[in-house]
Symmetry: C2
Subunit: 161 residues, 2 copies
């Protein structure tokens, strides 16, 4: 695990994607960037898309929904619910792309403190390997890598304040 | 897939458990037995335990919580949230055993109509193979097999009414 590098693991036959990245920011700040919708909208997703959060109820049973928009006006809506109250130990929520409904993913994000830095690890569990492979084929890797870089940039700005 | 037999699949290295069973009842009735808490409490779990449902909010973001009690007064609480409004196509919810918190499972149950009968298939997706193996080691198989038999018995009673 190196600083400034996103690692994406998608093993053959295993219906999961595991994303890890280390950030040069304390855990509380990284947690806030994951749970404050105004901050979330500044880093989540590919750089080419803008993001608007419709709702982000960070509590047990709370629902979330947001949209990514491209320059041509195309919209990509996503939604899910939170399991448990989010904490730095675990942010657990479901995830569904409304464009291809019926393929629900469980995402568990854990923030591990590392002497002032933070290791973020997200496990996405799919109903099937086919669902997982469709997500990989959709080009999610660009979004994940952009998100990591954008979050790093946002955290640097927030720390400089 | 034979009538009256529960099949449990837990492949090595894959963090899932897949349970299938065919029932001699129409899909709507099987769906009701999965979503009406008064019916659920009559079949879910091992025969040796009694069940009480504290809440069962079958809607998007709805929470559920129930307890299994043994003859000695021991209590086993479980909880989770629903993703989306449950339908016969898919009942999707998270699942957590409060006795060992922090290990959240995504359960997707699909009811397939088969000429008056119904094939029920539940995929449980775990965060890790270790979590899955711990669930298998806990003796869940007895509970799953008892549940299938008890649901079959309940459906026969409901159909006879």
């Amino acid at each position: 695990m190196k600083m400034g590098k996103t690692e994406i693991t998608a093993e053959p036959g295993v219906p999961q994607i595991i994303v890890t990245r280390e950030f040069d920011a304390p855990r509380d700040l990284v947690f806030r960037a994951h749970t404050d919708p105004d901050l979330l909208a500044q880093w989540l997703g590919p750089r080419t898309l803008s993001m608007s959060v419709e709702r982000y109820e960070t509590r047990d049973g709370g629902r979330w929904r947001y949209v990514h928009r491209d320059a041509e006006g195309g919209e990509y809506w996503f939604r899910g619910v939170f399991h448990g109250d989010p904490s730095p130990d675990a942010i657990v929520h479901t995830f569904e792309f409304e464009g291809v409904p019926g393929h629900v993913v469980l995402e568990t994000t854990r923030l591990e403190p590392l002497d002032g830095r933070t290791l973020v690890r997200t496990v996405s569990s799919f109903e099937s390997v086919e669902d997982r492979d469709a997500m990989v084929a959709s080009g999610m890797e660009t979004g994940v890598r952009d998100s990591g870089e954008r979050l790093e940039e946002l955290l640097a700005k927030l720390r400089a304040k």
